[in-house]
């Protein structure tokens, strides 16, 4: 009996100190609960799009589901415009679903934008829309994969650029013998591998940036920067995060053929060095296996999340965590830090779509789509964030002939601990993925706290172009709270 009471006491004490609570929501019955899109409507109900095309509304008060729309094709993004109107990105188009008679179900499936090509290849996914501060919409289009060829009928203009012609690109019994000549991932119809900017009504389109492979994550940060992450693979040594600007080329060459007046021939035949000079470098990188293998949607953390407010939170399919991004500006370029979040919690893997409710609840939609992952809708609620000790900023600064990382904490810390810095890079090449390269433990010349004990300054000599893994053992707040995540990954694309 005494043991029973003391166990209860322990559990109660531990629960009170937990910053977040976690709960898996019930799945709708008869629905394959793989989530392609999540957004919260103004009324606080959660719109969720599923793998087989159902769009359902979840009522958090009753934990029940109701059908809003169905029959959609692989919806992979959702934006709630109002209680009665939702934008959903399907394989073939961006669609506005409207419930005009307010019976809770959409009657209108209006095509907002379908001005891009489809070959019928399974990997031609479509992601978004992300809403810009000015109301315009951004969508992201996946390349095709040479895991399969194309279908006899396609939509959109055919590009003759490539080693195989239209007939040879057809998927048949001998596809495997030819597939290597297609390129690991390919772009034979318009705007595969591109980010497109659309006017709010979808009537004007502006091809915005190219060089993407499988850009499952697209969103704006609190400063209005367009963030897009991509998946490890060919030309992606590890998964990257980019700040995307108009006209940029972001590294995967296949999509270059859809640049205006492209005269560069077959991008697969271009020298790596030339592509490397053309491309915009990474804002951050997710080390494969260590941090994230398939990063997903970036969203802005709301004010109600205290020390995390206005930071960017990013989903991850493969590993049981989310990832925070802290931006830094160096020499006019945005680069920054990725930090694991929710490690060791009940969150689990498959974290595909993220949306915050008006009350600060974070809704996580999970999927696997026959890769690694999970299923269903998951809820994370902030409970007790007052005591949280977390890194709120990482800046790379010049320090004489060397550099220093200035790491700011959410509250004063007691000791500088014993920071360690390990740098590494990845190949930029056509091969799938990359081993780590240029690996080195960097000597920490100095590690000290500022006078307010809010900033830790670590002096070292960084390696340009490398990810810098910074480990922060022994950091606790003045009142004894441990740091929420002790590993940071800072991408030094530019030197101060």
């Amino acid at each position: 009996m005494i043991r029973f009471f003391s166990t209860c006491l322990l559990v109660a004490t531990a629960a009170a100190a937990q910053p977040f609570s976690f709960k898996a929501m019930p799945n709708p019955s008869g629905v394959d609960p793989q989530v392609g899109g999540v957004d919260v409507r103004p009324d606080g109900k959660v719109a969720v799009a599923f793998h087989r095309g159902e769009l359902m509304i979840f009522d958090p008060a009753t934990e029940t589901w109701s059908a809003f729309a169905e029959g959609l094709q692989e919806p992979l993004g959702l934006l709630a415009e109002s209680t009665d109107s939702l934008l959903v990105m399907q394989r073939a188009e961006l669609t506005r679903l409207r419930d005009r008679n307010r019976d809770g179900k959409a009657e209108t499936y209006q095509t907002v934008f379908d001005g891009f090509g489809l070959t019928g290849n399974y990997h031609e996914f479509a992601f978004g829309p992300a809403k810009a501060p000015d109301g315009s919409l951004f969508i992201a289009l996946n390349l095709a994969s040479n895991g399969a060829g194309i279908r006899p009928e396609i939509r959109g203009e055919w590009s003759d650029i490539g080693q195989l012609d239209f007939r040879q690109m057809q998927h048949d019994g001998k596809w495997r013998d030819r597939s290597v000549k297609a390129g690991r991932m390919y772009s034979r119809v318009p705007y595969r591998g591109w980010i497109l900017k659309l006017s709010p009504d979808g009537k004007q389109v502006e091809p915005w940036a190219c060089g993407f492979r499988s850009p499952d994550g697209i969103g704006f940060d609190a400063e209005g920067r367009l963030l897009v992450d991509d998946n490890q693979g060919d030309w992606r040594g590890t998964s990257p995060l980019y700040v995307v600007e108009k006209g940029g080329f972001y590294g995967h060459p296949a999509s270059l053929v859809w640049q205006d007046d492209w005269k560069g021939g077959d991008p697969m035949k271009m020298a790596v060095g030339r592509l490397d000079r053309l491309r915009t470098k990474e804002t951050a990188r997710f080390p494969q296996g260590d941090l994230a293998n398939s990063p997903t949607q970036p969203v802005v953390i709301p004010e109600s999340w205290g020390p995390y407010a206005r930071q960017t939170l990013i989903g991850e399919m493969n590993q049981p965590r989310l990832v925070r991004f802290l931006a830094d500006e160096v020499d006019g370029f945005t680069q920054g830090t990725l930090i694991p979040m929710f490690d060791g919690t009940p969150l689990g893997a498959g974290n595909h779509r993220l949306a915050f409710g008006p009350d600060g609840t974070l809704w996580v939609g999970k999927t696997h789509l026959s890769w690694a992952g999970a299923e269903g809708l998951f809820r994370i609620q902030p409970e007790n964030l007052d005591q949280v000790l977390t890194v709120t900023s990482v800046k790379l600064e010049k320090s004489g002939s060397r550099q220093q990382f200035r790491i700011t904490f959410s509250q004063p810390v007691a000791e500088p601990g014993t920071p360690k810095i390990h740098a590494f890079d990845y190949h930029y090449h056509v091969d799938y993925g990359s081993p780590k390269t240029r690996e080195a433990d960097l000597p920490v010349e100095k590690a000290q706290l500022d006078s307010r004990h809010h900033d830790l300054i670590i002096e070292t000599k960084v390696q340009e172009g490398c990810v810098h893994r910074i480990d922060l053992p022994g950091i606790v707040s003045d009142n004894g709270t441990a740091l929420d995540a002790t590993t940071l990954y800072y991408q030094v694309t530019r030197l101060p």
Binding site: G30, D32, G71, L118, T119, Y122, G147, G433
Partner: protein, 289 residues
Amino acid sequence: MKLSATFLPLLALAATAEDLTPAQVFQMNCSACHAVDHMVVGPSLVEISGIYRGRPDDFVKWCLHPEQKRPGAIEMPSMAHLGEDTLRTLLPYILSEAEGKAEVKTGEGDPFAIPPAMVRRPQVQRIFLPDTSPAAIAVALPGTLSYAFDASECRLRYIWQGGFLDGYPYWKGNGSSLAQLGGPVLYREEAFPLKTASLGGQEASKFLGYEMGDDGLPTFHYRRGSHQFSETIHPLADGSGIERHFEIHPGIACTVEASDGVEVTSSSGSLRIDAAAASSFTLTFRWKK
């Protein structure tokens, strides 16, 4: 390892995958897709052991440059980031995990399958279908007929009879296979059936979407040239054909040219529809006996 000798001393200092046990490496990189005794996303360790026992070089080669062994399956991503030395340590781990275990067969069928007789009609499903563009829309009509509408060419492509669809081949492979029709095709339409003198039927078309009626049937909206079309398809009660209700704005004179295998009549009394009648008319398509 494809690393130059210069970097080897540094590598030795680094905390890499090589510091982890094979079990930890497996957990972080492989376990999401590979279970001991049954297929998940990829094959079981039992199956892998059967293929690669005594063939470590082939195992490493596969991990660096994977392909597909099963048609319709997803290709494994390369594990090159682990490096050859680490990959080599994984095979003994896999063999030991699979030791003495046998493959457990998991269900092959669609866990969400609905018996054909229970399929709700009408309903609309966008999915990859045979013999149409990738922007295809399948519609189950009340009764036994279903049709494929092509949102790229903005026209009816064909009608089939029997069950609606088996979408599982598409859904389980993310579209690497087409959905299968639930019965034989009764009618194929080779071209848009309304020909106009000014446009000749080859005019640029633009899909605008669809509206679900109270009866659960979609009305498709599309533009051809400067004319906006609405089209709603109903089944005839006896299953002998379909009715297609068209509204064209602004109205334009047109001629109906159906494909082989049907007899067509028009609510306007003639297959030459004048501009006034074109604002609202119904064509009845009956399969020829």
